[in-house]
Symmetry: C2
Subunit: 211 residues, 2 copies
Amino acid sequence: MNAQIQSALNWRYATKLFNPAKKVSDDDLNTILEATRLAPSSLGIHPWKAIVVTDEAIRKQLRAAAWNQSQITDASHIVVFAARKTLDEEYVNAYINRVAETRNQKVEDIQGYKQMIMGSFAQKSPEAIKEWNARQVYIALGFLLESAALIHIDTCPMEGFDPAQFDKILNLDSSAYGSVVVATVGYRSEEDKYALAPKVRFPINSVIETV
Amino acid sequence: MNAQIQSALNWRYATKLFNPAKKVSDDDLNTILEATRLAPSSLGIHPWKAIVVTDEAIRKQLRAAAWNQSQITDASHIVVFAARKTLDEEYVNAYINRVAETRNQKVEDIQGYKQMIMGSFAQKSPEAIKEWNARQVYIALGFLLESAALIHIDTCPMEGFDPAQFDKILNLDSSAYGSVVVATVGYRSEEDKYALAPKVRFPINSVIETV
């Protein structure tokens, strides 16, 4: 498995040109999305959702709001990650209920955990909570990208879009969520000249230090 | 591989108690760290480093600055992720030089790419750049956590520490980097009652939407 991980992650690159004719199978898509869902988040509260956009008309609108980058319409699938804009007691209650349900506990018995979570929110500004939620999205994005690479499916993570326009197009405006980052998922085109370009990384001893 | 990913990510949990006697092998550690290094970042500029802390005295100090959580000293390894506090032209030049070196290009020929990067920074406040760097760290954290799980090594991602104290202990204070998040890496203790607790996640249709 060590060699498989290394080989998959060296094979992965941020795909510039997708082959629009090649679709990801339902089985592979489920693997990728389930891996994403299983990503951890701080305190386990999972403050995001992922929107898989399949509607072609919507994808065209999104492309226009993303500097016309071709991946948005040409990839097999596009996943828009949206983070919660706030975290409030109502949301924490929903989470605590889910913990109780999943672990067969009584809600009353895990009020200490709820208070701990509420206490950690109380120390953060609304802006800091929003950012903190966004950071958790990037863990899930990492799980999506790595899982796809392991099954030889290409991806391109994208921040180059107008979040306000995306929110409007996806009807997130009046919701608790705002778009943060996009993953396009599919198969590279044979014409993508970046596919075989050597991966640029700083030398390992300047990136990983040991003390 | 699909089944392996699903099984590994269901097996993974945020380890509360590590077995201090069980060490991760050099080969496995290298796989995990190399996977981390291969994680993508926006524009490819990789604005972070990871510090593997092996010195026991330093780990004791870090534990004291992390609410005395046992993972900091009991895990086989601890990795502190530190993000760049700023991004400036000097750093971008270093990156552009690395691109040219890696891809056998002339620095003069990729000045357009440099200007594009500098232009994208110019649109962000110093605070936004700092946050953006931190978000990139979480992609790498995701790669670390998933890669470890795939080779059945336990981890616990941790945000519960005092970054200012960590920076002092790790001599980051006067550096371009500041600590953001920690991954502890090792083997679970048989006494960790959380190891077999069902994983709490919201139902898939509330987390993954299709439009």
